[in-house]
């Protein structure tokens, strides 16, 4: 077991070394890829490596840097991308057997923006089948191993960053996958305001909640990447413009007087004692810097997971209907009739968790259940969104743990318990709020706990400021019950 996070340079530092000419990009990319290849048998973070394309990109970006072309601070920096995002001409599986050999003809807007900024995509990261899950348990390609414990699972983007093979990655977050993955591996991640990053080219799971965000060992790297990938996209009708985060002002962010709200149900929930203790210590640390904490009640939070389950399954059932073996992807070879093409392709192609969620979604949307489930879930969602809006008149940020438990073992899972793991993360998803996950503790076995910071719509700069200040006071570096 080795977590060499401390040895990894930030993406910004690496970018600086490329610009100054201290380190050649090609050499760094080569080192990165061989590093991945070395760790891969144990970690199983990547579904596809883009070795050849990454080398070509390295030469191109180096050329651009030499000719002083306009490049971002992260030009040349290797990055991993969750395999639910389309990469033109390069395999994109969405973690599903149905798309095992799928080669998209366009790139996701977020991917395109990374590449336009000169970042180099070294490969595609393992993912739950069509994002249905958080910790790669439902992936067609098998689960990713936790960096600290091979017998446990982890989100691949976070695990790759935590194991030090890359410094940053893009992940998707519907009910909390990005945050759960970050928390589990002790790295930082931001789910931005719904619409802040275009969803074009992100294979849809639950369209009303899907968002792309950055994961990095450094919160400022997250902010830098978010600055690159955010922005209104004319191809995504639900996209919005957010302000760029000004990192030059981040040092002056003060925790003193920061108004922090904590929904009282978050204390009452069935949470792992170590998670609970870490959360309380984080609150203590924040208070000692002058932050003011207060509990409050938010109507609907108890029902948030139920509402999330209904909405996400319903949307997923429609979104995944296009996986039918006709236009692309897997078609069951023995299918002779049209009905067999549909039924065998979808029965063999989808994993059992995806099948259950699709069937549930069909149930919720069926004519006689629509009102009872789907509309009611949208009403609960409305109450939650309203509750948050009024809470943010009193608080700057709302805090909670990210996950109620530590990284689970590689064991058979059931769909309901996966939903319940999202207890802390789905409320922000339903309300479209930005939320960051930052490390706030690590147990003696090296299993990490994350602190979630939720802000009002468009408050990414404030969340990053608070998260950065929290990390500066050492909030994220503590290892309870063991050495630093």
């Amino acid at each position: 077991m080795s977590i060499s996070r401390q040895n990894v340079e930030t993406a910004r530092k690496t970018g600086q070394e490329f610009r100054s000419g201290a380190v050649p990009i090609s050499e760094h990319i080569e080192k990165t890829i061989s590093g991945i290849q070395k760790e891969e048998p144990r970690n199983h973070c990547f579904v596809t490596l883009f070795e050849e394309q990454a080398h070509k990109a390295a030469i191109r970006v180096a050329q651009k840097l030499r000719s002083k072309e306009d490049c971002s601070l992260l030009a040349g920096v290797p990055v991993g991308v969750d395999d639910t995002m389309m990469t033109r001409g390069r395999r994109t599986t969405c973690g599903s057997g149905t798309l095992e050999h799928f080669i998209p003809t366009f790139s996701a807007t977020a991917v395109q923006k990374l590449e336009d900024a000169g970042m180099i995509i070294v490969g595609k990261l393992n993912t739950d089948e069509f994002s249905m899950g958080s910790l790669t348990q439902t992936s067609f390609f098998g689960p990713t191993s936790h960096p600290a414990d091979e017998t446990r699972v982890a989100g691949a983007a976070a695990a790759a960053v935590a194991s030090g093979v890359i410094s940053c990655a893009l992940a998707s977050d519907t009910g909390g996958a990005l945050r759960q993955a970050s928390a589990g591996c002790g790295v930082c991640g931001i789910r931005p305001t719904y619409g802040a990053v275009s969803r074009l080219g992100l294979a849809a799971f639950a369209s009303s909640m899907d968002q792309i965000g950055p994961i990095a060992s450094d919160i400022r790297d997250c902010a830098e990447i978010l600055n690159i990938i955010s922005g209104k996209d004319p191809c995504d009708s639900t996209s919005v413009e957010i302000d760029k985060i000004d990192l030059s002002r981040i040092d002056s962010f003060s925790l003193s007087g920061l108004r922090i709200g904590i929904p009282s149900v978050f204390f009452e929930s069935d949470t792992d004692p170590f998670v609970k203790a870490s959360f309380h210590e984080a609150l203590d640390a924040l208070r000692s810097e002058g932050a003011v904490t207060e509990t409050f009640s938010l109507k609907g939070l108890d029902q948030a997971v139920a509402a999330y389950a209904v909405i996400s399954c319903a949307e997923a059932s429609a979104n995944l209907s296009r996986i039918d073996g006709i236009k692309y992807g897997f078609r069951a070879p023995e299918a002779k009739t049209l009905s067999e093409v549909y039924e065998r392709t979808r029965s063999v192609g989808f994993g059992s968790d995806a099948q259950k969620r699709i069937m549930l979604g069909n149930y919720f949307l069926s004519a006689e259940r629509y009102e009872e489930y789907y509309l009611r879930a949208l009403r609960v969602k409305a109450l939650i969104a309203k509750g948050f809006a009024s809470a943010f008149r009193r608080y700057d940020v709302i805090l909670s743990p990210v996950s109620p438990s530590l990284a689970p073992k590689k064991e058979p899972y059931d769909t309901l318990s996966m939903f319940e793991e999202d207890f802390f993360t789905v409320p922000a998803s339903l309300a479209g709020l930005p939320a960051a996950s930052v490390p706030c503790g690590k147990n003696p076995d090296g299993l990490s706990v994350g602190l979630q910071m939720i802000g009002p719509h468009f408050s990414e700069a404030k969340i990053v400021g608070a998260a950065d200040a929290f990390l500066r006071i050492g909030g994220g570096q503590k290892t309870q019950g063991g050495q630093k």
Partner: protein, 109 residues
């Protein structure tokens, strides 16, 4: 073809998934389960539905359903045909194609 009568038909039954309902869901979802899978799935789905029952515990009377949490300006595309003929690229991922078309087993409407 749309009719308002399509929306509500039979009164809802209690939320538990039996053999008959699994078959109905298989049909709607176009997924066929084996006998053993059917039972396991019915059990799992019933468990989730039991959990979701709690939606009913909250009084949502008079609350408008919320679809989009973040309001945005309306987005329109201007009426311009900008795409080239990209048929070959579109067919490249097809399991089967013929004469520039996606190919499926013979079907009648």
């Amino acid at each position: 073809m749309i009719r308002m009568t399509d929306i509500h038909e039979a009164p809802p039954e209690p939320a538990s998934i039996g053999a008959e309902q699994i078959e109905y869901l298989e049909q709607l979802a176009r997924i066929r389960l084996s006998g053993e899978e059917k039972e396991r799935t019915a059990r799992d789905l019933s468990k989730i539905l039991d959990y979701i029952e709690m939606l009913g515990e909250l009084d949502t009377e008079g609350v408008d359903p919320l679809s989009h949490p973040v309001t945005t300006e309306p987005v329109f595309r201007e009426d311009k045909a900008v795409n080239d003929d990209r048929r070959d690229a579109m067919l490249r991922n097809a399991p089967e194609h013929k004469d520039g078309c996606f190919k499926v087993p013979k079907t009648v409407e």
